[in-house]
């Protein structure tokens, strides 16, 4: 795919298959695989926000976890331009090497409740990376944590409190402060606002935007919510059953859709405008089981434009117009849009 200068992360043919075991008495045997991530390729430039959007079970969260190496990939390559080490393939690192990489790639979790250890104070939580990497101690650590808390809009006086004293939005700020502690190059945001109330979502989205500008951060922004993705991302990738079906610059993608699934997704999203007259493209049936995906194009059983070719031939992700990639045989022939 694209490999211009300024690429920070290049993911090629990334795969993550989870085995399904048959249950024996002592030995388990894999009888099938859930193809959670099935050949995903994309690049992220320095300072860019790439939105990764899809419905539950499409593999977007797994993609994030595999890039971060919280999970070991089944195959593929993840080239990362590390600040300290130069180009490294994250997919091939061992545990000790990964520890160094995590100084430069961090994660913001979806659930602000389970991602903070309830038995630690804010100072211990936010200071954990600084402590573990032996960067700061004592008073210096205290000052840095205070600085980080101010940065995310929390009062430093809260440092000795435990997470249970905070609301969901405040906890998410704590998680963000922790992710920022080591000055990472890239942050993977895994549905960071989907567990929050409407009025709190905006605060967190704005905070993420501000921090990105201030520290030239690169985000992989994972979400099921098209509006959130559109708001924050420079480019958007749409995932369906473990594959990327479309990827393009945000405005390009939202204005000239090239894949029937993206079209259905966009048409399904409710618009907060009672006067909006929008085309509804109801999808038939259910998302296929990633352990037994359909033949050919995975979307063909639900696609209203399906042709015979779609049932046998898997469409590759190809560049239909410059910078706009879609995995549909008939991208150019169809006139899609909402």
């Amino acid at each position: 795919m694209m490999t211009e200068d300024g690429t920070l992360l290049q993911v090629s043919d990334l795969k993550k298959h989870f085995p399904i075991y048959s249950q024996g008495v002592f030995r388990r045997q894999a009888v099938n695989y859930v193809r959670a991530v099935d050949g995903v390729s994309f690049t992220i430039k320095r300072g860019e926000v790439l939105g990764l959007v899809g419905e539950s079970g499409c593999g977007k969260t797994t993609t994030g976890r595999v890039i971060l190496r919280a999970l070991k990939p089944t195959g593929g390559e993840v080239l990362f331009q590390d600040r300290d080490k130069g180009e490294v393939d994250l997919a091939r690192l061992d545990r000790a090497e990964l520890r160094d990489i995590w100084r430069n790639i961090q994660l913001i979790f979806q659930d602000p409740y389970s991602s903070l250890n309830p038995r630690m104070t804010l100072e211990q939580i936010v200071g954990e990376p600084l402590h573990n990497y032996d960067i700061l101690h004592g008073g210096a650590l205290h000052d840095r944590v205070a600085e980080l808390l101010r940065l995310v809009g929390l009062r430093p006086e809260y440092m000795s409190r435990y997470p249970h004293a905070f609301s969901g939005g405040q906890r998410q700020r704590i998680g963000i402060a922790r992710a920022l502690a080591l000055n990472p190059q890239m942050i993977i945001c895994d549905e960071p606002v989907s567990a929050l109330d409407v009025s709190i979502q905006a605060q967190i989205l704005n905070l993420l935007q501000d921090l990105q500008a201030q520290f030239q951060l690169t985000y992989l922004f994972i979400s099921h919510d098209l509006s959130v993705v559109r708001h924050l991302s420079d480019r958007v990738a749409v995932m369906y059953v473990g594959k990327i079906v479309e990827i393009a610059d945000t405005e390009e993608l939202f204005n000239s859709i090239r894949h029937p699934y993206s079209e259905a997704l966009l048409s399904s999203a409710p618009t907060p405008d009672p006067r909006a007259k929008r085309k509804h493209i109801p999808l038939k049936g259910e998302v296929p089981d990633p352990a037994n995906p359909p033949s050919g194009c995975y979307f063909h059983p639900r696609c209203q434009y399906v042709k015979d070719r779609c049932k046998v031939e898997t469409p590759p992700l190809r560049e239909t117009t410059p910078g706009h990639w879609a995995a549909c045989h008939f991208s150019e022939a169809l006139s899609l849009g909402v």
Binding site: Q201, A202, H231
Partner: protein, 340 residues
């Protein structure tokens, strides 16, 4: 009053907890018209679900309905006050199933794990419609077909865990429709499902509403869904209504600072926004609701002297607002811009 199906008058529901008393619903009044959809919007803890439960007299301890009236005009012109009925009595039971049906956010909990879908459906139908078993079975299949489930005959032999979230919600809708209710209360029915499934369920509900002519009380936090579904909207904040009007007014001419801020704080997939406006602070703890106007600590328009606890007053045709400064704010906005 001809068209009113259900009228909620000055409803108060408290939850008595060891940590203190939560005024979950604090003087809420609204009307639902026959065949129309009323959307109730609010964030978590605003009391919208409790209101829905209070309508069916289903508030359980530590919650208690303190006062208010819920008048149901479905039988005749003489209203029945649902709150006055015995919550376990036969009349409310008949109403709960036959007149007012309810579907919930998580259909998983409303379906029994140990009985097949068919068993549960036919049993309920036999019981409430006095149908013989084979007829009930045929009717179940018809209903499942109507809500767009494929192969309904086979589906009857499935258990709840074998269905996807969207399918479960359809089963719930099918069961809710079996007695052709005059009012369907939908409490966040699509919050746990994906957007494409949500679109399917919303389409289905709209179609069924046309077909059966039932009214819908749609409870959600999602301003997009409300815009698509509702004819009228009530916005709630901390147990109170802050604004109520027809859907167009709410979105194009909102008068309450909370409604305005909420609308400007949501990201959009249909237009590009540079920056979201935010509502400062957090939703206050419901045991400790701010004095005076409950929204004042987060309000841009707060003026200490003016914002004592405001009444819920009418400022336009069917447009009600709980804000003492609504008139000024409304003028400001009509001069400057439409909100979006």
């Amino acid at each position: 009053m001809q068209n009113v199906l259900l009228e909620v008058k000055d409803l108060h529901v408290n939850f008595f907890l060891t940590e203190g008393t939560v005024r979950a619903v604090n003087g809420v009044s609204f009307e639902i018209e026959r065949g129309k959809t009323l959307g109730v919007v609010g964030e978590s803890g605003c009391g919208k679900s409790v209101t829905a439960r209070a309508i069916l007299n289903m508030v359980r301890p530590p919650g208690r309905i303190l006062s208010g009236e819920i008048n149901y005009y479905g039988y005749s012109d003489a209203p029945v006050n649902l709150i006055a009925l015995d919550p376990e009595g036969s009349e409310i039971r008949r109403i709960r199933w036959g007149e007012i049906a309810m579907i919930f956010q998580e259909p998983m909990t409303s379906l029994s794990p140990v009985h097949t879908i068919g068993n549960q459906m036919t049993e309920a139908i036999c019981l409430h419609l006095n149908m013989p078993k084979d007829e009930a079975l045929r009717y179940s299949i018809e209903l499942l077909e109507r809500v767009g489930l494929p192969q309904p005959g086979r589906l009857l032999n499935h258990y709840r865990h074998e269905l996807s979230g969207g399918m479960r919600q359809r089963v719930m809708i099918a069961m809710a429709l079996s007695c052709k209710p005059k009012l369907l209360i939908a409490d966040e029915p699509t919050t746990a499902v994906d957007v494409t499934t949500q679109a399917q369920v919303l389409n289905l509900m709209r179609d069924l509403q046309q077909e059966f002519g039932m009214a819908i009380l749609y409870i959600t936090h999602d301003l997009g869904v409300v815009a698509e579904m509702a004819d009228k909207v009530v916005v709630m904040y901390l147990g109170e209504e802050v604004e109520g009007a027809d859907v167009d007014t709410i979105y194009y001419n909102p008068a309450h600072p909370y409604t305005r801020a909420l609308l400007r704080s949501i990201p959009r997939h249909d237009i590009r926004l540079d920056r979201l406006e935010t509502i400062e602070g957090n939703v206050p703890d419901p045991t400790n609701i701010p004095k005076g106007c409950a929204f004042h600590p987060r309000c841009h328009y707060y003026v200490p002297a003016q914002c004592v606890h405001p009444p819920y007053q009418q400022i336009g045709d069917g447009h009600w607002v709980r804000c003492t400064r609504a008139h000024e704010i409304g003028q400001q906005s009509s001069q400057t811009e439409q909100v979006l």
